[in-house]
C-alpha cells in the first residue's frame, strides 16, 4: 500500500514503516527557535541537564518578533539568546535579518525531504519546498536542541487538489483564505495538508510559501507540496545541501480529498476575529480602513512587494490612512531597494519598518487604536492580535491591501489589473 509525503518522510527519519496514527521517534534535520519561544526553551534545555546542542549547524535562533527590542524585559530575553547562540556556536540571526520563516529556506538551511521543527506555529511554511516542518512549543524545542530527535504522531493526510487558473488580480493568498473559509479553522486538525493540482504548479515558490504558511490556520500539522522543477531550481539557488524530493505514491491513503476549481475565484478577505470568517471582496468592499500592513512570513517576499508597488506607484495613500511595509528579510529589503520598490512605497506615504515580524503579533511597529480597522497581509486576525483588543483586523492579499489604502476603504484590486 502506498504512502503520503508525510508517511514517507517520517518513515525515512524514524527507520520504521510509519503509517498514519503510528507514534515514532524521528531524527531532525533542522531545529529553529524565535524570540517569543527561545527563552523558555533555553530554560528547559538547562533544566534537562543538557550542556551541548546535538549539532550546532542544524540549529538556528532568530530575533524577529520584537526586533529591535521595544522593552527592557524583551532586551533581557534577546540577550539570553545571544549568549546561548555564542556559547553553542549555532546559526544566529539578530534584529534586522528578517522573519525566521523567510530566513530558514532563504539561507538554505532546509531542503526537500527534510524533517524540521520550529518553535513557531508557522513553521509549516517550508512544506512549500517539500519539507515536513511543523510548529512546536518551547519544551519540544529544548528536547530537539538536546537530542536531535522528537516524537511524532504520524498524521493522516487531507489532500487539496486545486484545478484551474487564478484570474488576474487574484493571488495565492486569496486561494488559501478561500480554502480555510471552506474547511474552517479546525478542518485539518492533527492532519498533514497536501496541496496539489495545476493551480499550485502554476504558482511561484514564493506564492507557494504563502499557502503552506497558513496550513496551521486550518489546524494542520504541516502543509506539504511535491517538489517539481521549480522547487528543485529554487532550492539549488539557495542551498548547497544534497537532497532527494519525496513524492506521494499514487495509491496513498488519504483521510480526505477535496477538489476545487479556482478559475473564477475572486479576491478574498478574512473578517474579524477568526481566519475562517472569509468573504469575497464584494461583501466587504467599502469598509473604512485606517491602517494597512504589507509584510510578515505570509506575504513579505519580493513578489508581494512587486505586486503592491505596481498598484501604489505614482499614487498617494488616502487621507487618514497609514501603510506599514515590513520586508520579511534583509535580502528582500535590499532587493526591493534595488528595484526601486521602497522608493515607491515611501513616496506613496508608507512607513517602512525593520525586516522582521512587523506589527503582526502586537509587540511593536504599529499597534492600532481603539475601534480602528486594519487590513493586513498577515495570517491571523484574532481579537487583540496586533496589541489592541478593541481593534478589528481584516486579512487579504498584498494587492487588496495596496488598493484599500489608496481609497481608505476595503477595495477590489482588480481595478488595477493592467
Amino acid at each position: 500500500m502506498g504512502k503520503t509525503i508525510a508517511e514517507k518522510i517520517l518513515s525515512q527519519k524514524s527507520g520504521q514503516d510509519a503509517r498514519a496514527n503510528d507514534i515514532v521517534v524521528a531524527e531532525l534535520d533542522f531545529v529553529m527557535g524565535q524570540d517569543g519561544t527561545s527563552g523558555l526553551a533555553i530554560r528547559a534545555f538547562e533544566e534537562m541537564n543538557s550542556t551541548r546542542v546535538f549539532d550546532p549547524a542544524k540549529i538556528a535562533m532568530v530575533i524577529d518578533h520584537s526586533a529591535p527590542s521595544p522593552l527592557e524585559g524583551v532586551s533581557a530575553l534577546h540577550q539570553q539568546m545571544r549568549v546561548f547562540a555564542d556559547q553553542q556556536k549555532i546559526n544566529f540571526y539578530d534584529i534586522g535579518d528578517g522573519v525566521c520563516h523567510q530566513l530558514v529556506p532563504e539561507q538554505g538551511h532546509v531542503v526537500p525531504g527534510n524533517l524540521v521543527i520550529g518553535a513557531d506555529s508557522h513553521t509549516c511554511t517550508y512544506g512549500a519546498i517539500n519539507v515536513f516542518s511543523t510548529g512546536v512549543g518551547s519544551t519540544d524545542l529544548a528536547a530537539g536542541l538536546s537530542s536531535g530527535k522528537l516524537w511524532f504522531k504520524v498524521p493522516e493526510t487531507f489532500k487539496f487538489v486545486i484545478n484551474g487558473k487564478l484570474p488576474p488580480g487574484v493571488h495565492s493568498k486569496d486561494l488559501i483564505l478561500y480554502l480555510i473559509g471552506d474547511v474552517t479553522a479546525d478542518g485539518a486538525t492533527y492532519m498533514a495538508a497536501e496541496y496539489t493540482g495545476e493551480a499550485i504548479a502554476a504558482l511561484s515558490i514564493e506564492g507557494r510559501f504563502t499557502i503552506s504558511n497558513m496550513a496551521i490556520e486550518m489546524g494542520a500539522k504541516c502543509g506539504l507540496m511535491e517538489a517539481d522543477e521549480k522547487t528543485v531550481a529554487w532550492v539549488n539557488a539557495h542551498s548547497n545541501k544534497p537532497f532527494t524530493p519525496v513524492q506521494a505514491d499514487p495509491d496513498a491513503t488519504y483521510a480526505r480529498v477535496k477538489e476545487y476549481n479556482v478559475s473564477k475565484l475572486e479576491p478574498q478577505v478574512a473578517k474579524p476575529h477568526t481566519v475562517d470568517n472569509v468573504s469575497p471582496i464584494g461583501e466587504v468592499a467599502g469598509i473604512p480602513i485606517q491602517q494597512g500592513v504589507i509584510g510578515t512570513c505570509t506575504n513579505g517576499r519580493i513578489e508581494d512587494f512587486r505586486i503592491a508597488a505596481n498598484i501604489l506607484k505614482g499614487r498617494k495613500l488616502a487621507h487618514g490612512t497609514r501603510l506599514i511595509i515590513a520586508p520579511s528579510s534583509r535580502q528582500v529589503m535590499l532587493q526591493a531597494m534595488r528595484e526601486g520598490l521602497i522608493e515607491i512605497f515611501m513616496e506613496a506615504g508608507a512607513a517602512v519598518v525593520t525586516p522582521g515580524c512587523g506589527p503582526c503579533v502586537g509587540t511593536h511597529n504599529g499597534v492600532p487604536s481603539d475601534g480602528e480597522n486594519v487590513i493586513s497581509t498577515a495570517n491571523r486576525n484574532f481579537k487583540g492580535r496586533m496589541g489592541n483588543n478593541k481593534a478589528f483586523i481584516y486579512l487579504a492579499s498584498p494587492a487588496t491591501v495596496a488598493a484599500s489604502v489608496l481609497y481608505g476603504k476595503i477595495s477590489d484590486p482588480r481595478e488595477f489589473n493592467s
Partner: protein, 166 residues
C-alpha cells in the same frame, strides 16, 4: 490523580492569543506574572474568579493559533488543574503534555458554567457532581501518558537522558 473544582466555560476556537496575549508574553519569563492576564481578552476579570483547582471547559479546537508554551504555563500558574474540551489544537495539546497540564477530551455540552466536577485521571472518569452524571473521556495514548506521568518532558529527559518509550 484526583482533581476537583468548579467550571469556567468558554466557546469554540479559543486561541492562544486569548489564553495569553502577545502584548504580555514577550515581556517576561515570570509565569506567575503572566498568569494574571490569562483569558483577559475574553473576560478581563477571569483571573480573579479562579479558585485553586478549578477547570477551564470549552468547545472544539481549544488552543488553536500560536505555539506559545506560555499558554499552558499561564493556565497552570493561574491554579487551573485541567482543561476540558471537545477537541484541542495539536501544538497546544503537545505543550500541555510537555508542561504537565492535564487535558481531557469529552462532550462538554454535558457541562454547564459553575458545575462542580471530580476527575480521576488514572481511572479515566469525569463525574459531574452538580448534575450527578458520569461523562466518558477519550483516553490519552501511552506515549503522552508516560510523559505526563513523568511530570512533563523536562522530567522525562532528566530521568532517562532522552526519549524512552520502551
Amino acid at each position: 490523580m484526583n482533581l476537583q473544582g468548579k467550571v469556567h466555560k468558554f466557546g469554540n476556537d479559543v486561541n492562544t492569543d486569548y489564553i495569553i496575549s502577545g502584548r504580555h508574553k514577550f515581556k517576561t519569563l515570570d509565569m506567575k506574572e503572566l498568569a494574571k492576564h490569562v483569558m483577559e481578552d475574553l473576560d478581563p476579570e477571569f483571573y480573579n474568579k479562579i479558585d485553586r483547582g478549578d477547570f477551564i471547559v470549552a468547545g472544539s479546537n481549544f488552543g488553536c493559533g500560536s505555539s506559545r508554551e506560555q499558554a499552558p504555563l499561564a493556565i497552570i500558574n493561574a491554579d487551573i488543574s485541567a482543561v476540558i474540551a471537545k477537541s484541542f489544537a495539536r501544538i497546544f495539546y503537545r505543550n500541555c503534555i510537555n508542561t504537565g497540564l492535564p487535558l481531557i477530551e469529552c462532550d462538554t455540552d454535558l457541562i454547564n458554567p459553575g458545575d462542580a466536577l471530580e476527575i480521576d485521571l488514572g481511572a479515566g472518569i469525569l463525574h459531574n457532581l452538580t448534575q450527578n452524571i458520569d461523562i466518558p473521556i477519550t483516553p490519552l495514548p501511552p506515549v503522552m501518558l508516560k510523559i505526563l506521568n513523568d511530570g512533563g518532558l523536562v522530567e522525562h529527559f532528566k530521568k532517562y537522558g532522552g526519549f524512552n518509550f520502551d
